[in-house]
């Protein structure tokens, strides 16, 4: 096979590309044993995506200075509760952060 890679830093690229490979979205294999876990992953990933989008939106508004002190407190409390809830749910389903890395296609690009 004619080979095609040119770089002066093979070691560094090998290392970094391994990291990317590990972060690759895993396919959810829906077989009877793990269909529940697979569904849980999908649902939690979507919930987490929405949570992160809301957080990001809140940050943009803080950046723009368009929130009152009271709003900052209220939004902050809500986001905090959501974050804690998310951690709880992950624990209940025995899922780690890396496992919620499903490829959401164009939805994922919203982040």
């Amino acid at each position: 096979m004619t080979k095609k890679i040119e770089t002066d830093s093979l070691e560094i690229f090998a290392g970094e590309m391994e990291k990317v490979k590990d972060a690759l979205p895993k396919k959810i294999v829906a077989n009877p044993e793990n269909v529940e876990k697979g569904l849980a992953k999908l649902v939690l990933t979507l919930i987490d995506l929405i949570r992160k989008l809301m957080e990001k939106q809140a940050m943009r508004r803080v950046d723009a200075g368009s929130l009152t002190e009271e709003e900052v407190e209220r939004v902050g409390e809500t986001l905090m509760k959501l974050e804690n809830k998310m951690k709880e749910l992950k624990e209940i389903f025995g899922l780690k952060d890396e496992e919620l890395n499903i490829n959401l296609g164009p939805l994922g690009d919203l982040m």
Partner: protein, 252 residues
């Protein structure tokens, strides 16, 4: 006997007899109008879920690259009947001819650039730390928001820095490129993972520009790969299984 498909080409035949595909099967072309689909026969129970088959797939596709315009198939595209295959080709005929025209005489190059992302991030974080007043006892919601906001600011600046660097890359390469797809910061250190569709005639200029880019300073590491057939530049107006492109991404 199944049919394993490797690529769509802009020809109805003329594939060299010496090209061998998966499990050593001879590769040949099934014509459809003015295009062809390059296949090899595959036994129904054949074991091909392995690295060897995938590499073979790529080998076949590359063997075609020099003589034809190639739309490489995603691996493991298999038909059990020739009629099914032809039906699919017919369904996508317009897509295929459009793509063949678009990538004619062009090949894909991949460029990856690594920067000292974690160092840069630390530098930014340090600069911000010096700015912020220490968080006193405040209300919990506001405290949460403050912490999040500090992270947000650092992320934002980090990304802006990345954008600046990538703009420089674009500055060097853009004029030799027909199309490109960029992925910014796949990891903190992988500043850029990009693919470029480059006209054969502009290839030397492109490579020269890349060399100049490399010499332009900054603590960056570079990798270039290619030429590849245009894997990343295929657009189908409708995916073969009737789903729209938007749902294709959410894999279950």
């Amino acid at each position: 006997m199944n049919l394993y498909a490797y690529a769509i080409i802009d020809s109805t035949g003329g594939v060299e007899e010496s090209i061998r595909g998966l499990l050593g099967a001879p590769v040949y072309t099934i014509p459809y109008r003015d295009i062809g689909i390059v296949v090899s026969d595959l036994k129904a129970q054949a074991q091909i879920k392995n690295e060897e088959s995938v590499l073979k797939h790529e080998e076949v596709v590359e063997a075609l690259m020099d003589r034809f315009t190639v739309l490489p198939m995603k691996s493991y595209t298999i038909f059990d009947k020739k009629e099914e295959l032809l039906l699919k080709v017919k369904e996508h005929y317009e897509d295929f001819t459009e793509n063949l025209d678009r990538v004619h005489n062009k090949h894909e190059f991949g460029i990856k650039i690594i920067w000292a992302g974690n160092v840069i991030r630390e530098r930014i974080a340090l600069a911000h730390k010096n700015e912020n007043a220490p968080a006193g006892p405040g209300q919990p919601g506001a405290k949460f928001m403050k912490e999040k906001f500090e992270k947000y600011k650092i992320d934002k600046e980090f990304e802006e820095e990345a954008d600046r660097c990538i703009a420089i890359v674009d500055g060097f390469l853009n004029r030799y490129v027909s199309e490109k797809k960029l992925e910014k910061l796949k990891t903190d250190n992988l500043l850029l993972s990009a693919v470029y569709l480059v006209d054969k005639e502009k290839r030397d200029d492109f490579k020269k520009a890349f060399k100049e880019l490399k010499g332009s300073g900054g603590d960056l590491k570079y990798m270039i790969s290619g030429p590849w057939p245009a894997y990343n530049f295929i657009t189908l107006s409708r995916s073969g299984d009737g789903k729209s492109a938007a749902t294709k991404g959410a894999q279950l």
